[in-house]
Symmetry: C2
Subunit: 235 residues, 2 copies
């Protein structure tokens, strides 16, 4: 059985969320059951990029992680696309045996038994600006599947006031999950340079909005990789 892989890159730091700043090798899978309007990884999502995805065995995926990390254990992040539409249990088993840690980033639409083998499960339900609709029963199944993971967190991208209000409701559904908010990045074209001041301004807006409501539950973080490297791929 082979895995569809859009890219494997790193080591670099995790740019966002609960593991922000953590040295990581990323395994970005190909294919997704969502089509978010502002997706920053369409090359791992849309079928028209399918020819750029590699069909790799779990052994080949693992060999590439080992090569990139020089055999030094670190965190491996499974992202996408939606990594949960494929079976990563064999890759995770290889990595854990070698002392590596695993994180998975998924919207929470498909639950997998291997969520239980993760160190960190990041569930990112998509707010209204995405154009998608969350199936909260499927989301709850993901939370249950990850209950044996070291930590499960919720991360929500916020583009506007509607998304912000939605995030408060999402947290009310799952108050047991540590919550991370992240300002949306409207500049997703890899050829367009990112304006770091605009990124700073979006973060400032979200901080001020949340603090004004005395809502002290979420941690509020930017995308550091966008700050450092813009929308370039492979970093």
């Amino acid at each position: 059985m082979s895995l569809r892989i859009a890219e494997i890159f790193g080591p670099t730091i995790q740019g966002e969320g609960a593991l922000i700043g953590e040295p990581t090798v990323f395994v970005r899978t190909g294919g997704c059951d969502y089509r978010c309007s502002w997706c920053d990884s369409l090359h791992a999502v849309e079928s028209r990029y399918r020819d750029t995805w590699a069909a790799m065995s779990d052994e080949a995926v693992w060999d590439e992680v080992l090569r990139l990390s020089g055999g030094q254990p670190l965190t491996v992040s499974l992202s996408g696309g939606n990594p949960a539409i494929q079976d990563f249990a064999p890759v995770i088993a290889r990595g854990r045996a070698a002392g590596y840690r695993f994180a998975c980033e998924t919207q929470g639409s498909v639950a997998r038994p291997w969520f239980a083998e993760l160190d960190t499960l990041v569930l990112s339900p998509k707010p209204p600006s995405s154009g998608e609709t969350v199936d909260w029963d499927a989301f709850a199944a993901c939370v249950r599947a990850g209950s044996a993971a070291r930590q499960t967190v919720m991360k929500i991208v916020i583009f506007d006031g509607t998304d912000y209000a939605w995030a408060r409701d999402a947290h009310a559904r799952h108050p047991e999950l540590p919550l991370y908010l992240q300002p949306g990045n409207p500049e997703v074209d890899p050829e367009t340079p990112v304006d770091p001041q605009a990124l700073a301004d979006r973060l400032g807006w979200l901080v001020e909005r949340t603090m004004a409501d005395t809502w002290f539950t979420p941690r509020i973080l930017p995308q550091l990789h966008v700050l450092i490297w813009g929308n370039k791929r492979g970093v």
Copy 2:
């Protein structure tokens, strides 16, 4: 007994280190046993600013935290200056009784019994670029004093390759402490606008340096408050 307080401000997000992104009220104390060459808080350090520090009772400090937070529990960060040269046990006792969490940021030169009452103790030994010299016996006493805290971490500011090499040695002395690296900020004048691209470049340099060494232990994070607000005070 009164406390010397340079400023109390927030709520805003913690801009750096282990609690990055966490809603926080900051209690910045006046007075410090160090004089780091690149200190970004001289108004809380040097005696010539002494007249701007308030002498406050622990009750008055706590009332101000309550007012700023609207009575909603959140994290209170004791910073400075060096907060460890004063007695914060009474403030912490009041806050914990009300459900607040406490962090303290100190260089690790003075150990205090109240470190044991903290949720997060951040020890920031100062690298060679600071012009200061670390007393590692005093530092170890701080680690011991904080052993009952929920977490104790080490954070090191890196300005150059000498600081980076020093950080590796510091980690070797205390491998039990989770490590956070942070690029130094040479632009500390509150009147000078910060260049977000320069901040991004310094972060990129530190990430690339650390990854090139396959040193995957530290988390590497910028100062988000500098990104958002520059060197302005009170944010």
